[in-house]
Structure formats: structure tokens, C-alpha cells
């Protein structure tokens, strides 16, 4: 299995699973609407019939933020942080839930059906959830490495009189940490695929097996991941370029930008699903015996 082939097949599979995109889109949007509505309500409560709102239509006003905070007599930072953290946690759990269904659909090589998808969601949730917890430990370890590298930099250059070595060290540190986080992500993805493909309930064992598999085929697995990240970054760059064209000075412009942005959100979901579909294909290629082959009929 080549990177190119896995990618092509992955794109084909994702493109025929449009209903999957919309399930992910709906859940994500719902999760986003809740804190957005709450924050808007807090923020705009004071404006009501105020003429100042028009000014805010142009740009965020620091003085208004000051008034807003002052009107609460203290910075309402912790309740807001707690609420947002709660939404992030719930959203993450929902994502893990849906992921089981998505991988089930990709790994079984079947057309999307609600029974297959939601059956997969339910069947795979706990194993993927436990896998995510293990990966959280790995992520914590990566942050530990980050702290260690920062401490080394501080030890060598921290008491010096130049910021340059520390800035350059921070770039190196960022590269190391992003690579390590990318690897953790890779391990998570392939282990999740393995758990679903083998119908295994042993995420810890799966984790180590996936590591072995990954490093035995490191060029292809890491190469595919790099291409997938590049696609995601490209999409973001394209969006960034397009969004600069809209100044949001009229309702029409706001609406058009909203559409562009929703296209971007869908592209992001597509790209994330592409990670799994392509990696399923790759996994199939490098561990063919493990995958339960239930090819779908072409016209079902």
C-alpha cells in the first residue's frame, strides 16, 4: 500500500459518506452554539437598545469590554472558563463517540447506514474512550518533555542577557513537541482503527501493537500523516486567504462570510475523516490479515 493509493481510496470513501460529515457537523455546531449563545447573551445584555452596538459592528471596542467587566463588578473569568472547559469536555466525548461509528464504517468498507454507524458508536465508545485516556497520559508525557526542554533552555540561557538563544530554543522545542504530539495522534488513530477492525476490547495492548506496526512501517504511516496534515493546513490557508476579502460591514457580508466559514468547518470535518479513511486503507495494506473484510456492494 502506497501513500498515494491510501489517500486516493480514503478520499473516495469519505466522499461517498456525506451523511457522516453532516452528523459530525451537526454535533460540532450544536456544541459551538451553546457557549457562543451564552457569551453573546452575557456580552450584549448591556447593549439592548444602545447606539453603541453600531460601533461594535465595526470592531471590538476595548472600552466596551471594560464597561462589561466593570458591570459585573469583577472579572467573570472563572465561571466562563469553567463553562467553556465543560463544553470542550462534552464535545470531546461526543467526538470519541462518533469516531467509533466513523471508523466502523470505514474499516468494514461498507456504505454508510445509521445502524452500522450508531452500532459502531455504541460498540466502540468505551474502548476508544479508554484509549483516549491512555493517550492523555502520553500527551501529559509530551508536555513533561516540553517542560524538561524548557528547563534545560532556562538552565543554559535563562540567566543570560540575550533572548535570542531562548527564542531559538523555543522554536526547536515547538518542533519537537509538535512532532511528538503528531506521533501520539498517529498512535491513537491506528490503535482506534485496530480496536475497531479486530473488534478488540484491549486498548492498552492495542496501543503497543500499533506502535510496533507503526514503527515497522514508519515511512508510509508517518508520510501519510504528513500529507494529511498538509491538506488540512492547505485548507486553512485557503480559508484564511478568502476570509480576508470579507470585512463584515454589512449583514450581507456577514452572511456570505458565515457561508464561507461553514464551508471551512465542513472542510475541516472532511479532512479529519480523511485521516481515518486513509489510515484505514493504510492499515489494511500493512496489516491485511487483521481487517475484517466485508466489502460493500458497489450499488448498495
Amino acid at each position: 500500500m502506497t501513500i498515494s493509493l491510501a489517500l486516493r481510496r480514503g478520499i473516495r470513501v469519505v466522499n461517498r459518506s456525506k451523511r457522516l460529515w453532516f452528523i459530525f457537523y451537526a454535533v460540532l455546531t450544536l456544541a459551538a452554539l451553546i457557549p457562543a449563545a451564552a457569551l453573546t447573551a452575557i456580552a450584549f445584555q448591556s447593549l439592548g437598545h444602545s447606539a453603541w452596538a453600531e460601533q461594535l459592528g465595526r470592531s471590538l471596542d476595548l472600552e466596551w469590554i471594560g464597561e462589561l467587566i466593570a458591570s459585573y463588578d469583577a472579572m467573570p473569568i472563572w465561571p466562563v472558563v469553567a463553562a467553556v472547559a465543560g463544553v470542550v469536555a462534552i464535545s470531546a466525548i461526543a467526538h470519541l463517540f462518533l469516531l467509533g461509528g466513523a471508523i466502523e464504517t470505514f474499516a468494514r468498507r461498507q456504505w454508510f447506514s445509521a445502524a452500522l454507524f450508531f452500532g459502531g458508536c455504541g460498540r466502540n465508545f468505551w474502548r476508544i474512550f479508554r484509549l483516549a485516556l491512555y493517550c492523555l497520559i502520553l500527551i501529559a508525557a509530551v508536555y513533561g518533555v516540553n517542560a524538561g526542554l524548557a528547563a534545560i533552555g532556562e538552565k543554559i540561557w535563562g540567566k543570560g542577557s540575550e533572548a535570542t538563544p531562548l527564542v531559538h530554543w523555543s522554536w526547536f522545542r515547538a518542533a519537537v513537541i509538535l512532532t511528538l504530539l503528531g506521533l501520539v495522534n498517529l498512535v491513537f488513530d491506528y490503535t482506534a482503527i485496530r480496536l475497531v477492525a479486530e473488534d478488540s476490547r484491549q486498548p492498552f495492548r492495542g496501543l503497543w501493537r500499533s506502535c510496533r506496526l507503526l514503527f515497522a512501517n514508519f515511512g508510509r504511516t508517518a508520510g501519510l500523516a504528513a500529507v494529511l496534515w498538509a491538506i488540512m493546513l492547505l485548507l486553512i490557508a485557503v480559508y484564511f486567504g478568502i476570509s480576508q476579502l470579507f470585512a463584515q460591514r454589512t449583514l450581507a457580508a456577514v452572511f456570505v462570510l458565515l457561508l464561507v466559514r461553514q464551508a471551512m468547518v465542513l472542510a475541516r470535518i472532511w479532512s479529519r475523516l480523511l485521516f481515518y479513511s486513509s489510515q484505514c486503507e493504510m492499515y489494511d495494506g500493512i496489516a491485511p490479515a487483521a481487517v475484517v473484510r466485508q466489502e460493500c456492494a458497489p450499488h448498495v
Partner: protein, 691 residues
Amino acid sequence: MKRLLPAIALLAGFSAPAADAAMSDQIVRYNIRARLDPATKTIAGQETLTWRNESPDRIRELRFHLYLNAFQNQKSTFIRESGGELRSDKMSTDDWGYIEIKRMHKAEGGDLTHAIRFIHPDDDNADDQTVIAVALPDPVLPGGAITLDIDFVSKLPKVFARTGYHQDFFMVGQWFPKIGVYEKAGDRYAKQGAWNCHQFHANTEFFADYGVYDVSITTPSNYVVGATGVEQSAVEDPRNHQTTHRFYQEDVHDFAWTASPHFIRIERLFEPARAVGAADTAAAARLLGLPPEDLRLKPVRMILLIQPEHLWQAERHFRALENGLKWWGLWYGAYPYQTITVVDPPYGANGAGGMEYPTLITAGTNWWPGRHEYMLEVVIIHEFGHQYWYGMVGTNEFEESWLDEGFNTYSTDKIVDMVYGAGYLPVHVLGVPVSETLGLPRFTFGEMDRFGYLLYGKHDPVVRNGWQYYDSTQYGIDSYMRPGTLLRTLENYFGAQTMARIMRGWLERYRFHHPTSVDFEKLVNELSGRDMTWFFDQFVFGTNWLNYKVGSVQCDPIEVKLGSYVEIGKRITIDRKAADRIEKERKKKGERQSYRIVVKLVRDGESVFPVAMRMTLDNGDIVREQWDGRERWIKYEYTKASPVKSVVIDPEHKILLDGSFADNSYVAQPAPLPFVKWFANLVFWFQMVLP
């Protein structure tokens, strides 16, 4: 560095001690010989101080500041108050700073060392050793003088609270025994003659008499040295590779210096003919009502001591300094000294950044300041501005910090916002500025002042002793941002011309004196021709909050009223049907619908301020009202041919002290754009960051 010495020689005309008449009363004269030992971080000093008694009192005791003792242990008042933290900088607990007087005696004989005792005039902290009293065997008579020889050793702490060392960088401020200010009855707030010599507090800066400083500093020859005043000579002793730099300055009230082998020294001349355009001079002259010739500035030697890694930012430093020299000069008066030195502290010495001393200021940039982030500029212009508010107008920073910091914030922000415009907040990722790339909003410093005032402007009056504010944040807001907002409100109230003349008048009248807040109030009343006592009582000496708001707006079409009426001696009844008929007839005749509009304005805070109201009708008509704002609320009633479109209090946002602009207005049809826009933005941002 040394390569610039020929250029300095060319400007030798600057170097001789000034022969002009003294600008100040020169109460003190310091001759100091100081030797820096970089290994032990100590300065061995010999000080000869002459102090003149200008009061009618017989002075039997002298008082001195020993500021460095604030850093000698955790029992000092400074450390107790600050907890060892100031301006986000933490004091090192493994290397302390202190100052020891080894010997003090009168020049004509008579040892005074035994007569030194520590006192603590501000609090009950017997462990604080930042002020000493020296009992004199013979009083200093009115008009007389005393000369003392003082041997001292100053040990610098690791850089903290403006002074100290970091590696081989030395920022040497508050480093010598410095005599306090003897205030005779009638000076400032003094009812009888007394020393004004406060302990060193976490939230205070300094206060001293004007005088002459002649200071010789010996450092290793590879060190680049910068200091208050004009360098008279640099004499190298080749035997021990030490160089003695002699600096001289008259009419200043402090002396600080810096030394580091890594500084790159760049010198330029501020040439008014090149830097100040005729149009700018003419505009300033119009503003001040003065002939343009009166605004003529003088050339100034600008010296920049910059870190090698910031060398590429040298242009920005010079441009900011030139803007300072130009605008402060045009608005308030020409900078009177020959030099101004800007020190760029190295990475790790942030505690030394953003500080003012006479003719020497410390700036502070970062590794990569964004193109439209103006912290670098605002710090330089602000610290330069202290040459006026603190330097030339020598207010007491212990007791009335707003007179230097607040005035300076007001002036600096006007310059920065005018010259540079709104800037980005410094948001950096991995050392790289990202605000512009991310399209974050830009803010003016004036907006930031009001932001700070809104958040923290409630606990203390603006004027109070620095150590008595609720906390250090309150001190900061009340000294900088709130006065900045307050003075801009005053400017909006008077108009730019009157305010400009008041500020220039403040400098002209109190140049090289020690005025107070009350003096400023009197000057404002005099130059504006209005009694502004109400303003000062409420916003400078008081804590009352100001907020006016639109309480309610009611707009109803005037309809035929139902009921029973007597018309021409006959009782008639108008019921619904009759009313509809009358309305129909009116429309047929082309009579326009009238509206009854009732507007209620409310004074929500305790403070009173005259406010303007502007009501706009749908047909474009505008109704204006002026309310003296004294009552708790006021009602305006109108009958108009068009419904109301909007009602706005203080439509030009002149009263920046108003605690809320949001409730200052009412629009009949709120614009949906901002709500839709920000809600859509938030949804998208969450969609992108949520898993």
C-alpha cells in the same frame, strides 16, 4: 562604543559645564566619586554634599534617604508591602542590596557617624532602614549651608524595582545617601517647617531638591557608561584598566547611571530645523496662542545605549525619542538640557526598564516588537516626558503620584495616538508577533486608559500617599490611567486650546519648583476662567462614581382621546367610533400624525457633571438639551411630527469618566449587525477549536 568618540569630540561645545544662570534654586550640590566593582556588585562612594538652608528655621537635624536598604532583607517596608514583587518582576532572595554609611563628618571637622539613627516616619516598622536622621551639634542657620563628607558602600541587588545588576549589566539608581527635602511653613502642604523624607515604599517613587551633580564613576575600561548629565571626561588608567567617567549636570534632582560591556552606544543630534516642520510649529502656536518664534526648540544630543540583539530596532528608538523631544517641546517648552540618554536593559533585567531619571531614561523592548505594536515607543516617549512632569516640575511622587505619572500618561498618550495611531496588543507566539496576522483589533492608549479606569477606578481618590492605596493595582490605575482619562475629560470640557495653555502654564509657572494638586487646581481655575472646584472635589480628591444614562424613552402617536367633554357649553362624548372618524378626517385633510415623546435621563452615580443630550427624530430633525446633571433624573417632554429615532447623552463621548457609554443612548430600532456578526464569529471560532 569607542568608535563614536570622535563624533562626541566634534560636539565638544556641549561638554563644558553650563555657564548659564541657574534654572533652579540649587539647594543641594553633590560631588561623588564612585568605583564599581563588577565582581562584588558593589560601589564604593565618597560623597561631598553641600546643603543650603533656605528656610527661616534653625535646622538641628538632617534627614537622608538610604533607598537601597529597601532590598536588604524581608523586613523592610518595601518588601513587606510588595511581597518582593513589583511590576511582574520578582526580587531574588539570594542576593540582597543595601547601603552602608562608613563615615559621615562635617567638612570643617566634626564626626557625625555616631549621630546617625534610623527612623521610620511613615509606619511603625522599626526594621525599615531606608531613612536616617542625623543630629547636628550646631544648627544650620537660615540662609546658611552645611557641607558633609560621606563615605559609603552600596551593594546592588539583582535587578529589581528599577535598580541592580544582571550579569555584567548595572543599572545604578537610588544608590547614594540622598538628603530629603526640608519644607518650610507654606511650602506645599507644610503648616510648619519639617523634613519631607519618606521611607521607600513599594508604591512610591521619589522627591528631592534641585541641585548640581558632579559625579565621577570608575569602571573597568571595557564598560560603556551612561549617566545623568554631560560627560566631561573619560580618563583611562592603563595600569589597572579602569576608566573614570566624569558627568556633570545642574538643575536636576537625582543622578543615575548605567554600565555594561555589551552596550552599543549610538549618538545622534536632535536638530529642530530638520525634525520639526513649520506646519507642526504653526499648529502648536495656534493652539497655544503664541508666536511660532516662542516655540523654538534647541538641539539635543541623543545617546542610545542598546543591546546588540536589539540593534536593528535602533531607528525605532531614535524616532520615538525625536517625537518626544518634538511634541513635548512644542506643546510645553523646549527641553532645557544638552543630552538625553536612552538605556535598553538586557533580557532578564526587565525590572530596570521603563524608568526615568534626569536626562537618562530606561526603555525596554523585546526580541521582536511587531510593526504596529507601540509599547517600545510609548515607553520611550513616556519616560522622556518625565523630564517635564517629575524632572522640571518637581512634584512629590510619594504623595501625589498623579502629578507626574498621570500628567505624563495624558501627554504621552496624546502624542502616541496622534503620531502612531491605534496599535496592536503585544501578542507573541514563540517570540514572533502574531496580532497583525491574526487580525486582532487595534487600540489607542487613550482607550486603554479608560479601560483601566473602568475596572479599577473606584476604591481610592486620585490623590493620596502612594503606600496608602487599596493595593498596587489601584495605585497604578489611580496614578496613570485614571488621571489620564480625567485630564482628557477636562480637555474635552474646556476644548483643546484652553487645556494646552493650562498644561504649558503648569510647566512655565512651576518650572523647577515643587507644586501640588491644589496649585494645579488654582491654575486650572485661573487659566480657564471657570471655577472647577466641583470637578477636582469629585474626581481628584473624591471617589464618587459618574454615570449618566438614558432611563427611558417613550414615543406614542397622539390619538384622539376618548371621554366626555364640554364643548361650547354642550357635553359631547367621544367614543372609539367617533375617535376613528375624527382620525380619518384628519388624514383626509392631510394633517400629519403627531407624537408625544417623553425622555427620562438618569444620574446613576454620585458624581455630578453637566451633560448634553441629542435626540434625533426619524425625519432627521435634531433636538438638543443641556442638563446641569444635578438632580437624580430629569424628564423632557415633546410633541413632534416624527417619531424618535435615537436619544444620546454626551453624543461626542466627551465625558470619558462616565462609567458606561453603553447606557448613554437609546435607538428605537437596534442595529442587528453587531449581534449577528459577533455571534457568527463566536460560533465559528468554537467550531474551529472544539474537537
